[in-house]
């Protein structure tokens, strides 16, 4: 029974982190703790407790954004494994965050390992493509890509669930508090990379002023994303109108 549970959680952690169809993955990923609360609640036979735990941990991540592939924290580990560990310890839902958050930071390592090693398969795919071997390309994309994540996500999650709190404590014990602080700082810094990559990709110099306007509106006047998006639509249309070539006539 415990093995089955371990299998389910480990599979979810791994699949949602990297393997399952992108679209499903996204909802299951950005809402990982919430979903985990439901699933673990069902598996452990205490649905209401599960939902509580899941919702509570979820709140800490409601504003998380993954931009340009930069994760400030790994939600899959934090969600699926974190919420399970909380419930296994019969801890108060509010304690869930203290368990999930360090796991999320450790997850940054797993995610980056994948991002760093996957180019191996890309280079193979280059070769297959040159040969016109589309099956090879697909195989690299779908299967080879899962080797690293399986090791970094599935295995630890499986062992944690199987051997329970002692194993997790051992795992976290190996990792001193200082490392968690470091990973937390890295998690706070990492979005800068994603955002900078995005900026780098928007290579029109003429739109840089809007970056400054958005920054001031958010930093000084505390406008949120919805307000910025509305203003963005407005300014975007005007920008288009003002920079479009005269010849085409006015709207």
């Amino acid at each position: 029974m415990q093995v089955l549970h371990a299998l389910i959680i480990a599979l979810l952690t791994w699949l949602v982190a990297t393997a399952c169809p992108m679209r499903l993955r996204w909802s299951m990923y950005f809402g990982a703790p919430l979903v985990s609360g439901l699933i673990n609640g069902l598996l452990l036979g205490d649905l209401s407790y599960g939902l509580q735990c899941g919702a509570t941990v979820m709140m800490a991540y409601i504003g998380l954004v993954a931009i340009g592939g930069s994760l400030p924290s790994d939600l899959s580990l934090a969600g699926y494994l974190g919420v399970y560990m909380t419930m296994a310890a019969h801890a108060d839902p509010s304690v869930g965050i203290t368990i999930a958050v360090p796991l999320g930071f450790l997850g940054i390592l797993c995610s980056n390992a994948k991002m760093a090693l996957n180019p191996i398969w890309v280079h193979r795919a280059d070769r297959y493509a040159a040969e016109g071997n589309d099956r090879g390309v697909v195989a690299m994309n779908l299967f080879a890509s899962q080797i690293v994540p399986f090791i970094t996500y599935f295995i630890p999650a499986f062992l944690c669930v199987l051997f329970g709190a002692p194993f997790l404590e051992m795992l976290l014990g190996v990792v001193p508090q200082q490392v968690i602080s470091i990973l937390k700082l890295i998690g706070a810094m990492v979005p800068a990379l994603g955002l900078a990559m995005l900026m780098n990709m928007m290579n029109k110099r003429s739109t840089i002023p809007f970056f400054l306007i958005g920054f001031v509106l958010a930093a000084y006047l505390k406008l949120d994303i919805i307000a910025l998006a509305i203003l963005g639509v407005a300014y975007g249309i005007l920008h288009l109108l003002y920079t479009r070539k005269r010849g085409e006539g006015n709207v």
Binding site: T18, L38, I62, A130, N141, K184, G187, L198, L217, A229
Partner: protein, 279 residues
């Protein structure tokens, strides 16, 4: 054009089924081999494979060229980003039918659009839709209602599928109708200008709010303790995030790979954390 009779004979059109397959590949496997070197490049190539099979059923060489053409660096938001493979599918179709579509034009479109669409898409998908759905989902779950997570997963999936599918097909139509316009640069120009402005605006806001770096430094001379962070806030809110952002951006501009920048962030994070300079 000058020889319509022969052209008509050999013309290959992408049918709905092929387009759907291409969209499906993208929407399922676009990010599965995500990596620092090409990001979603391999996924994009995967989504083009059905297209090439249809366009060049008997020409392995052309298929090979096509796949290689789309194994390049590519990254965008997944939902609204479906617009781009849609447009590209139309361009590949034209190319296969003999139109004068250069490889460069195709790659230009991808490069021009991926940034602005990522900016807009991230803002809408992650910044607005996700947050709204989560708010409701959490609210329900908090009250012990199992529909909370279910509502969220279904809602978000429905959003992603609907918007994604519509964008792909819209992109294809746009590409078909406007292929000439696109080639002449007018449309890309407009889309990148307009979306770019909006994306940049949101990006500025994200830099101000989503990079959570601050300094725990403080210095005491005599009895008074001064928090350095308070001093910085007086100068400008979110100063450290802005500085970090521009630092990283400068590195990328210099051609340092994202992989190396990530490594640098790990090193810098470790050092600054141990020295107690940042938190």
């Amino acid at each position: 054009m000058s020889e319509p009779t022969t052209a008509v004979e050999t013309r290959v059109t992408l049918d709905k089924k092929t387009l759907r397959k291409s969209w499906w590949n993208w929407t399922c496997w676009g990010q599965i081999c995500y990596n620092f070197e090409r990001m979603m490049g391999q996924g994009f190539c995967h989504s083009m494979i059905p297209i090439f099979k249809k366009l060049y059923p008997n020409d392995k060489e052309k298929r090979a060229q096509g796949m290689t053409r789309h194994l390049t660096y590519y990254n965008t938001e997944n939902t609204w980003g479906c617009l781009i493979p849609g447009i590209v599918a139309a361009m590949e179709e034209e190319k296969a039918n003999g139109a004068d579509v250069e490889d460069e034009a195709i790659s230009n479109i991808k490069t021009a659009l991926m940034g602005p669409i990522a900016g807009v898409g991230d803002a809408v998908t992650q910044g607005i839709v996700k947050v709204l759905l989560l708010t409701i989902g959490i609210d329900l779950a908090m009250k012990g209602n199992a529909l909370g997570p279910i509502f969220y997963v279904l809602g978000f999936s429905a959003y992603a599928l609907l918007v994604g599918y519509t964008c792909y097909m819209t992109g294809y139509k746009l590409g078909k109708n406007a292929v000439v316009k696109i080639l002449s640069g007018g449309l890309i120009q407009e889309i990148t200008e307009g979306f770019g402005a909006m994306g940049m605006m949101v990006l500025g806001g994200l830099v101000a709010t989503k990079i959570g770096v601050s300094t725990p430094l403080s210095f005491a001379l005599g009895e008074k303790v001064t928090e350095v962070q308070a001093l910085l806030d007086q100068i400008m809110p979110a100063l450290l995030p802005l500085a970090l952002f521009f630092g990283v951006y400068a590195l990328l501009r210099k051609g340092i790979t994202p992989m190396k920048v990530m490594l640098l962030i790990f090193i810098a994070g470790t050092v600054f954390s141990l020295l107690g300079i940042l938190a």
